[in-house]
């Protein structure tokens, strides 16, 4: 992480991005620590020229691992900012406030110095580096937790089933989830919604059908049924926060969460809707036609 002379913060991380909202979430973490605008944190992901170490984005680890490293780097940069500003403003660090992209002495917001101006002063091209200091308002930080943190959640669903056609309509879908400290509730909602959509596909639509010769029979979206916008209900979410003790932010993963319990939930709700003794759903994925068969068998 580097504060550039223009006052913007450049942040590079080893994780790649596949739509999770890293540019925003990581910027929020940094913006809070440095007192800058989210828009002024320029996030770079997935370019090995920009960052040398890391593994990647998977296993619901982006916020927990990269997010914690972003926070650690921001705290170090903050310390450098305070150190330099304390010298420039002739004030003790404890009296300094970082806000609005500047540092000022508490109670005197008019007489501050911008982070950009401090970055210029921290640049050794414009003056000798004082002994015992480093050039630049920058830091590199890493984070490795002892082990994974454990997120949790409860899914609930109301479905209506037409026993003649095996048509299933999801009337309500509720997710109460706990991924520890939430960085951005909107992004977390999006992760949950996407996960549930994946889960619904997995439960009732999507199945790769191989024949006895190992030939995949439905290798196109004409034949492989994906849930569409009309099949995925509005997902009502509630956030609970039980912070993880395994990272400084208390974060837990959320990327996979929405997709995991959906099959089990779907089976239970559909069984309950049909209310037939003898109907037990012990397989996933179902499909409209497979459910029809199961209903017939239980008749």
């Amino acid at each position: 992480m580097t504060v550039e002379p223009g006052g913007r913060v450049r942040l590079a991380t080893g994780v790649g991005t596949q739509g999770q909202g890293h540019f925003t979430a990581f910027a929020q973490i940094v913006a809070e620590v440095l007192g800058v605008d989210v828009a002024d944190v320029h996030v770079i992901t997935g370019d090995t020229r920009e960052f040398h170490w890391g593994t990647g984005t998977f296993a619901s680890r982006g916020a927990v691992v990269a997010g914690s490293a972003c926070q650690a780097a921001a705290l170090r940069v903050r310390e450098k900012i305070l150190e330099l500003a304390s010298h420039e403003l002739e004030a003790s660090k404890a009296d300094l406030v970082l806000a609005g992209g500047s540092v000022h002495v508490r109670g005197d917001p008019g007489a501050g110095i911008t982070l950009g101006a401090l970055a210029v002063k921290a640049n050794p091209l414009r003056g000798a580096v004082r002994p015992g200091t480093e050039p630049g308002l920058e830091a590199t930080a890493y984070f490795g937790p002892d082990r994974g943190s454990t997120a949790s959640g409860v899914h609930a669903m109301l479905v209506e089933v037409d026993p003649e056609t095996a048509q299933v309509e999801i009337r309500r879908y509720v997710v109460v989830h706990d991924c520890g400290r939430v960085i951005n509730p909107m992004i977390v909602d999006g992760q949950i919604h996407g996960g549930v959509a994946h889960g619904i596909g997995n439960a009732f639509y999507e199945q790769l059908v191989y024949d006895e010769d190992g030939q995949l029979l439905n290798a196109s979206f004409m034949d492989y049924l994906l849930p569409t916008a009309t099949d995925v209900p509005r997902v009502e979410t509630a956030h609970r926060e039980t912070p993880s003790p395994l990272n400084p932010m208390g974060a837990k993963g959320v990327g996979e969460a929405g997709a995991i319990p959906t099959g089990a939930l779907f089976a239970q709700a559909v069984e309950d809707a049909l209310g037939r003794t003898g109907l037990e759903i012990c397989e996933i994925p179902l499909s409209p036609s497979r459910l029809f068969e199961l209903i017939e068998e239980a008749r």
């Binding site: 596949q18 090995t48 998977f58 806000a99 949790s152 609930a156």
Partner: protein, 465 residues
Amino acid sequence: MESRRQVGERVRRTEDARLLTGRALFVDDVRLDGMLHVAFLRSQHAHARLTGVDATAARARPGVVAVYTAADLGDYWRPGPLLVPPPPIAGLVFNACTQVPLAKEKLRHVGEPMAMVVAESRYLAEDALDDIVVEAEPLPAVVDLEAALAKGAPRVHEHLPSNLAAHAVQRKGDYARAKQRAHTVIKRRFRYDRGASAAIENRAVAAQWDPRAEELTVWDTTQAPIPIRNGLAQLLGLLESQVRVVAPFVGGGFGPKIMMYYPEEVLVPWAAMKLGRPVKWTEDRQENFFATTQERGQIHDAEITLDQSGKILGVRDVFLHDTGAYDPYGLTVPINSQCTLLGPYEIPNYESEFTAVFTNKTIVTPVRGAGRQHGVFVIERLLDFAAKELGIDRAEIRRRNLLRRDQFPFNNEILFQDSAPLTYDSGDYEPALDQALELIDYHRFVREEQPRLRTAGRHVGIGIV
């Protein structure tokens, strides 16, 4: 005074303007002067002996720059790395068989690449696929998990004595003893079948070798650009600093785009260096169905034992896991299934045994959830059937078995896929259950709404897990 609170706020996504207006870079957007395009000749057979790949006619087709078969790769032909070595479970059997860049003597699943055509356009490259003459003797395919383990079954990897890829048993407490005290025992067979990750963007790789700077740049739809950089540097004999891997915007990863060292990922950069021209391959949707990893084929025979009040005494589960034709990702998926079956519940006695099986199907690696779905499905269904049998409400039987807030950190004793004992750091489950019940209005629905709808001839049901 602290800075303004940002963490926890519903800040609008700063990346969306670029994405929604089509200005974000995806791998297929990479267009470079002199760029060549690739098509792969893929196996039509699930299982066959490959006796010949003759590319003479393809090489002669105008516009074709090069055609590579396994024989043309020389020393560069080698099986991919074992990405995740299995944890040290006592008595574990694990047979590593990782994927190869181009099939040499054997075809092990439909879609496995046999030859790579590099041409001036993708059209020309695809046309040239028809010019390649393949000689293959079909073998019976290994598809069904139980049949795969039967004596005399055809073998996916003939150097192994059977199709067994792995076998592991993990225990906690003493299940057999717990069963002796049981009031209720419920046993069922559960099946979970395969699906695709179905990311909106398929895989793609583009590569450019700059001979002046002696630098290789690779644009890759990977979820793990740094491991891919390291692996390519090693394979190609370059310094890590000579290889730049860029994973720009990627249209969904969901697991199959992790650090796979897919054949295409390894061959496209190699060809770019060899030919001295930029090379690009973009997977089409049909290829994605065969050549991008999949998940979720398992069969569980599971048993739960409970006391009269619905408290779980123990669970025993024996399952088969379909790992597909190769197992580069180790045992992450079946171990996740094994561990996640324990769920948020206190299960004092647990015995779980799995056998991973090679089949003539696309490789299995984690897909969003990575095996957890199966474990959750098994335990939640067992609890549903137990609730019915014991006459206990579905939500109530769960409540009686949830871990309490004061039990964390909670050590489940068995080893997790990260090699450490499966330990839950923190949680508070019962209030979450109550909140979900309240939000969906569970009790009122069960008591009033459902009977009323039933009378009206409607089949509306509720679920809670």
